[in-house]
């Protein structure tokens, strides 16, 4: 009974900041999906043309994905 009351209070007391936070987190989640697409497409591109730059480009795409995941975590825990 007490637990249910606390949950209800939590739902009623949703702040504007809380709404913005989860909207931002939702946006970051979509960006992580985009970063995954970038990794996939970089793979397609590097298969099209051989080049010494290919490993660097692949590494950058993975760094970009990791950065997106780190930012998602930051959005959940900092905001």
């Amino acid at each position: 009974m007490i637990y249910n009351a606390e949950v209800l209070r939590g739902l009623v007391n949703i702040s504007f900041g809380g709404v913005v936070k989860w909207l931002v987190v939702g946006g970051l989640l979509m960006y992580v999906a985009f970063a995954l697409v970038v990794v996939k497409q970089v793979g397609v591109m590097t298969e099209s043309v051989e080049s010494d730059v290919n490993p660097v480009v692949k590494a950058l795409s993975w760094i970009h994905l990791v950065a997106a995941l780190v930012l998602l975590a930051a959005g959940i825990y900092i905001l």
């Binding site: 497409q41 043309v49 950058l60």
Partner: protein, 218 residues
Amino acid sequence: MAEVYESKKATAGKHEFVPRETVDEVLERIGEIRGRKSLGGAYCVAPGTGFVNAQGDEEAVLLLRAHPITNLKWIVTAVVMLFLPGILVDVGAFSLVQPKFLLVGQMFWYLIVMAYILESFLSWYYSVFIVTNERIVDIDFYNLLFREVSYATLNHIEQPTMTMGGVFGTLFRFGEVKVSTAAEESTIEGHNLPYPDVVVRLISELSEELEKRRERGE
């Protein structure tokens, strides 16, 4: 006894191609050196680079990208995007925003800038126009999700044409190369290619060599 001329490579299967020795002669005629690279990789002569769907005896004679000057626009945009958050924070545009939202927002912005730079570079670097000893290959990445690859064999092309104009085109010597074929997809176009006059001349010379070989029955 009739001399047996081994021409397996030239006539094997349905692939007609110009052999390496003849490619070297053509390059010498047009004043190019095998292995030459210039303009930051936008103009490469016989680089020895593999590419998608390359045939067994096929070698890239010219590998071209858009002239590097065409990247100026996105480079300037990226630099402006990098400095923008700092400027806006300094003028107090986000003074009412909570610091934690500001931090995450800035990190997100820089991530977007990174993606913009990566996408712009990839679109330039992997959109290539390749003249091989067998055909012309045009690979265009319009964005991360859309790729177009066009081929035209040298023995099916009609006279290639080039256009070079505008201030930048004339100053930096880049332009368009159009190659027409009799196929349904009748034209392959290379945009903003360096030294388009050399490209057209090379295509014509290789095409003529292939025609001569066919007439000789090689």
